[in-house]
């Protein structure tokens, strides 16, 4: 049955997440102004909070599915501050990759590690098929050589899931994911990037120089290159079907904070956001704000839709890209619009709105730009291969 109401258990969980998130918000400016300083796993004020995970117990069939729920929880975290994402244990993008592409044994073995995901290389932006990093099997070890940039949580993570090709000639089909633990000889964390936003995040550049890892670190264990051309690559792409919506959710949580702040500030000067009236009876500010709210709702629903399909084991490649593309553009317009509405006050660092404006701008860039997502969507609806539509 089509439904959009949260159950009591859903609410309980979201409220707990938001309570923690609100504590983190108190530190948001600090971690913005002290770039690359890591937030603690637990903030003092939150020490005595009951573990959110305990609330997962006793959820039933009548409650919202876990995939959809995870999107709401992710947004709930970043609604407080993006830095919440930087805690250990919460898992990085690599953990999602491990869950999606790893064998059960691999998932078990590395379940306690926070894993980063390393795809982009200096030469290739959003073009994973152009991966230059190589993996050569030498006895019982893979030897990795290459460079990676824009690795989210690259310094903080305990390990990384990295894309490398075992056969350049095979193109996409030759690309495999490998897990490399920190401390492995030949695995060097080169430097951190100074960024527009998400400064609590650490975005690193890696260098792999004759880095040897166990043969068993090939995720999925499939060492051969599938006949059907891009099959192997699609396997890799599967990784993204929950990651793309999650990345959108990260941005949307921040966008919601911006909307809440703007609504509160307007109330201070007696401007209430009222619904029901048409354009003819609205002020410019109210109409603009409601357009931004609609963008938020629309984008969040595309995220939940992609997760819902995944919860029901339905293909969601198109919908995952729709969520990422829509979220990526929505958060830009929302934060730009909130500042437009609030005017000069909106760009003052006395408030967090200007930070949220900077933080969300990454959404449409990392894990596949909006252009890449549109390529994926267009191929799906047109029935074109990646060779037919570039």
């Amino acid at each position: 049955m089509i439904d959009f109401e949260l159950t009591p258990k859903d609410r309980e969980l979201l409220e707990a997440i938001r309570r923690e998130a609100l504590v983190a918000r108190g530190y948001a400016r600090h971690y913005d102004e002290n770039e690359h300083e890591f937030p603690p796993d637990e903030l003092p004020e939150a020490k005595d909070f009951p573990s959110v995970f305990s609330l997962f117990a006793g959820r039933g069939k009548e409650d919202t599915g876990m995939g959809v729920m995870s999107m709401l929880l992710t947004a709930g975290q970043t609604w407080g501050d993006y830095s919440v994402r930087m805690r250990r244990g919460k898992g990085g993008l690599g953990n999602a990759a491990l869950r999606a592409a790893g064998t059960l044994a691999q998932q078990e073995k590395w379940k306690d590690l926070t894993l980063a995901m390393a795809i982009t290389e200096p030469g290739c932006g959003s073009d994973p098929s152009a991966v230059q990093m190589t993996a050569v099997l030498d006895g019982e070890e893979w030897v990795l050589n290459g460079e990676k940039i824009f690795v989210t949580t690259g310094c903080r993570a305990d390990g990384v899931v990295v894309w490398a090709t075992i056969d350049k000639a095979a193109g996409r089909a030759g690309i495999k994911s490998f897990l490399v633990e920190k401390g492995t000889p030949g695995f060097i964390v080169a430097h951190k990037e100074k960024k527009l936003g998400i400064r609590a995040d650490d975005t690193a550049a890696y260098v792999f120089k004759d880095c040897r890892i166990p043969r068993a670190n090939l995720l999925g264990g499939e060492e051969t290159i599938p006949k059907a051309g891009s099959g192997g690559f699609r396997g890799v792409m599967k990784t993204f079907n929950m990651t793309r919506p999650a990345v959108a959710a990260i941005g949307l949580g921040i966008a919601e904070a911006a909307l809440d702040f703007t609504r509160d500030q307007l109330r201070e000067v007696g401007i209430e956001i009222e619904y029901g009236g048409g354009m003819g009876s609205q002020s410019a500010v109210v109409r603009r704000f409601q357009r931004l709210e609609a963008l938020y709702e629309a984008a969040m629903l595309t995220v939940l839709h992609a997760a819902y399909l995944s919860d029901h084991a339905k293909p969601n490649n198109t919908e995952a890209s729709i969520a990422k593309a829509k979220g990526g553009s929505a958060v830009r317009e929302i934060t730009q619009g909130c500042i437009e509405i609030l005017g000069p006050l909106g760009v003052s660092r006395d408030h967090l709105l200007e930070k949220w404006f900077r933080d969300v701008r990454i959404t449409d860039i990392y894990e596949g730009t909006g252009q890449i997502q549109r390529l994926i969507i267009a191929r799906d609806i047109l029935g074109y291969s990646s060779a037919q539509l570039r």
């Binding site: 049955m1 089509i2 439904d3 959009f4 109401e5 949260l6 159950t7 859903d10 009548e62 409650d63 919202t64 599915g65 959809v68 619904y275 029901g276 009236g277 048409g278 354009m279 003819g280 009876s281 409601q290 357009r291 709210e293 609609a294 963008l295 709702e297 629309a298 984008a299 629903l301 595309t302 939940l304 839709h305 819902y308 399909l309 029901h312 198109t318 919908e319 729709i322 593309a325 829509k326 252009q371 997502q373 549109r374 390529l375 969507i377 267009a378 609806i381 047109l382 074109y384 037919q388 539509l389």
Partner: protein, 369 residues
């Protein structure tokens, strides 16, 4: 529980409507637009699908299935996908019946719902819009003054669907004093009421197959029983929200029609040596059509679901309708651009959809869930 999954029954209904839209609506849409008319035969064929009667309780002569705005939303998207003008014409009886169902008093249900239990298509309509610039339902001028036990209605209405044949009109009017929704009421006005003048069919930019008329109410005297909801009156929000949610999903169906027409066209059409679909400017535009059509549907579903739960859908319905109006306009506009010169001539439906998108996007109270 958040869920995007229709029930078994809903999926079946949706499939049936999709088939009907392709078989019975698409082939006649262009001619109905050019001749600005809807064939009786078509109205009768939809009537036989039982769209209006199904959700009317058996006690009032209906089929007694559960009242479901969500199911109606699924149906409306498909009909609008077929042709939105014909869809609105076919659903005009529901525009009257569903409002009576949701907001009418027991007496009113008994008096009017049986009208829709018969074999033949029966038209009754809603009159909300008024012919004033930048009209907004909150600026409704049609007034209902108390007189004795009853009321006297005066004012002008426009865009009343099937007003040429409707047996009754639900007329939205300013009852109480003050501004806002609380001052709004609705009154059941029979076609032959003293002082009611039904004008000639209007000529509009789009939705041409849907006959609409203007009404002039010159001190129309009504009994107390004519006030929708009886003594307590109505919450006009409910009326407006259901209409907006319906418009949002109708616009979704229209947008999907454009999008699905452009995809094969762009793959067939060759320019500069390759299919135009292979140009990023075109391909990304088609991707955006899909993205926004999905977004429009999600927003409309959320509003419909809140209506079904009996929750206040004022916010969700407004956001859904305003968003859909804007995005559907962009999609129809881009549809014309994708076809280029062929998008400007009447050999293809996109120019009609362009007119329909702009027209539907500014109307309220012409369809409901």
């Amino acid at each position: 529980m958040i869920s995007f999954g229709p029930t078994e029954e809903q999926s079946v209904a949706r499939e049936a409507m999709r088939e009907f839209a392709t078989r019975a609506m698409r082939p006649i849409a262009r001619e109905c637009d050019e001749t600005a008319s809807v064939p009786e035969k078509f109205l009768q064929s939809v009537w036989e699908l039982g769209l209006t009667a199904t959700q009317i309780p058996e006690a009032y002569g209906g089929a007694g299935e559960a009242r479901s705005p969500v199911t109606n939303a699924l149906v409306l998207e498909e009909l609008a996908y077929g042709d939105v003008s014909l869809a609105l014409a076919a659903l005009t009886p529901s525009l009257f019946a569903n409002v009576i169902l949701d907001l009418g008093s027991e007496e009113q249900k008994q008096a009017y719902l049986p009208l829709f239990g018969g074999e033949r298509f029966h038209a009754a309509s809603l009159a909300m819009i008024e012919p004033s610039p930048a009209f907004d339902v909150l600026s409704t001028r049609t007034a209902a003054e108390p007189k004795g036990e009853g009321f006297v209605l005066s004012g002008r209405k426009s865009f009343v669907p099937l007003g040429d044949r409707a047996s009754h009109f639900l007329v939205v009017a300013r009852g109480g004093a003050g501004f806002g929704f609380d001052a709004l009421d609705a009154f059941i006005v029979p076609r032959d009421a003293q002082g009611l003048t039904i004008a000639e069919p209007e000529k509009n930019l789009g939705l041409r197959a849907l006959t609409t008329v203007g009404l002039v109410l010159d001190r129309v005297e009504l009994p107390a029983a004519a006030r929708l909801g009886g003594e307590r009156g109505i919450d006009a929000r409910r009326l407006v929200n259901a209409s907006r949610a319906a418009l949002a999903i109708a616009l979704t169906g229209l947008a999907r029609a454009v999008s699905e027409y452009c995809i094969p066209y762009a793959k067939d059409r060759v320019a500069f040596g390759e299919a135009i679909a292979k140009k990023q400017a075109i391909a990304f535009g088609l991707a955006d059509m899909r993205i926004e059509t999905d977004a429009m549907r999600h927003l409309a579903w959320k509003a419909a679901s809140q209506l079904e739960h009996g929750l206040d859908a004022t916010k969700s319905a407004q956001l859904a309708r305003d968003y859909a109006a804007e995005e559907c306009m962009k999609i129809a506009d881009n549809g014309v651009q994708v076809l280029g010169g062929h998008g400007y001539i009447r050999e293809h439906p996109v120019e009609m959809w362009y007119r329909n998108a702009r027209t539907l996007g500014v109307l309220e109270g012409t369809v409901t869930l």
